[in-house]
């Protein structure tokens, strides 16, 4: 892993933190935030690719776990990892992996539609696939009730976030590609 990879990993962990600075929207009744941070795994996977994307998300979670208040609403520490909605956070890691893998795999043909599809598959599909069963297990609810109680309300917002993220991914592919070929500019020792 090059120094540049290391820096990219750190920078996107910081991007994730900055996304957390947007005030979260607390839905009435359920206390799981609607947060700009669910865009994080999409940007990490779609721009950095699978390996760097996953490491970047892990780094972000380490920063949260060691006690920095970087989750939306200024939350942090270990509590967010043991709560009823923590499955979503673990889902972010797998989502970055899947989105990154798909993006790399179909890099040459990556366009707005495929990028959007990847973001939805990872950022919604995978995240909920981890988050909802976790929620069910922690709360003793059935899967269906858990889905209705946790995930449904987020879908519209997450679709909007997937749209924004996929557009960003495509524009970055055009102007500053990090996946596929190497960098523009001269070779580096």
């Amino acid at each position: 892993m090059s120094t540049r990879d290391l820096v990219l990993i750190a920078l996107f962990a910081a991007v994730m933190a900055v996304l957390g600075a947007f005030p979260p929207l607390m839905l009435p009744i359920i206390a799981i935030p609607v947060t700009a941070q669910s865009m994080g795994p999409m940007l990490m996977g779609g721009i950095l690719g699978a390996k760097r994307g996953v490491l970047s998300m892990l780094l972000f979670l380490v920063l949260v776990a060691v006690g920095l208040p970087l989750l939306s609403g200024g939350r942090g520490g270990l509590a967010p990892f043991v709560g009823p909605w923590s499955g979503f956070i673990y889902g972010w890691v797998l989502a970055a992996l899947l989105i990154g893998w798909l993006t790399e795999r179909f890099w040459d043909r990556l366009g707005p539609v495929s990028a959007f599809a990847f973001c939805v598959a990872g950022g919604i599909g995978v995240v909920y696939a981890v988050g909802v069963p976790w929620f069910a297990a922690m709360s003793g609810l059935g899967l269906l009730e858990a889905f209705a109680g946790s995930a449904m309300a987020f879908i519209p917002g997450d679709l909007v976030k997937a749209t924004v993220a996929s557009a960003a991914i495509v524009i970055v592919k055009r102007s500053y590609p990090l996946i596929g070929q190497g960098r523009t500019g001269a070779a580096r020792a």
Partner: protein, 224 residues
């Protein structure tokens, strides 16, 4: 010390520098020229951050393409934007980063850091957050961070652009006091008065090479 032998450089498919042959042994070397003429690219060649597409760059006899790491340990680089070269959240940690290769113990590390800070007029800044410093302070931290490893050559790319008169004087006084060889890219022609040799670039070629007064004259007439 620094030798360029038939050096050309292409970036993004465009020729940025063409066939440079140079031997630089003076203590104070200035680099001036138009925007986009290749000054920053030239500076990056000197420590192997960029490698020539053709030809060879040698520093202390070391080929930058073969011995990049060894060259970089002896050539410090100060970038135009201090923000992007300050790596750590606090001033003290950032300076300590430059000493990492020496594997010093804690006490010695702290001693050298506070000495370097005092030298830069930043005594007691160890625990200040780097992003809360003023522009001039950040530029001084960047200089100190590079200087602390005592490189034998310092390459500076427009180190005074955002500074006011007072801070510019401080930075220049600091540079003046350095024992090391200094190669400085700048648009501020006033800074070059005490220099030994000034290179003038024009679209990737060396348009003039000589003492400051003549070089500035040549540059002015190029720009007319």
């Amino acid at each position: 010390m620094i030798e360029l032998l038939g050096v050309s450089l292409a970036r993004g498919g465009r020729d940025v520098l063409s066939r440079l042959d140079l031997r630089l042994a003076e203590r104070r070397i200035g680099v001036i020229g138009a925007n986009g003429s290749g000054k920053s690219s030239f500076a990056r060649l000197l420590n192997g951050l960029l490698l020539p597409t053709e030809g060879t760059v040698r520093v202390f006899g070391l080929d930058t393409a073969a011995d990049g790491r060894a060259v970089r340990r002896r050539v410090g680089f100060v970038f135009q934007n201090p923000d992007n070269q300050i790596v750590y959240p606090t001033v003290g940690e950032d300076l300590a980063f430059g000493l990492k290769p020496l594997k010093l113990d804690r006490g010695e590390l702290a001693r050298r850091v506070s000495f370097a800070l005092a030298e830069a007029g930043l005594a007691g800044f160890e625990n200040r957050l780097t992003h809360e410093l003023s522009g001039g302070e950040r530029q001084m931290v960047a200089l100190a961070g590079v200087g602390i490893a005592r490189p034998e050559i310092l390459v500076l790319d427009e180190p005074t652009t955002l500074l006011d008169l007072r801070n510019k004087r401080r930075v220049m006084a600091r540079i003046d006091a350095l024992q090391q060889t200094v190669v400085m890219v700048t648009h501020d022609l006033d800074l070059l008065s005490g220099f030994d040799r000034v290179l003038v670039f024009e679209t990737g070629r060396l348009a003039f090479d000589g003492p400051p007064a003549e070089a500035i004259g040549a540059y002015r007439s190029l720009c007319a």
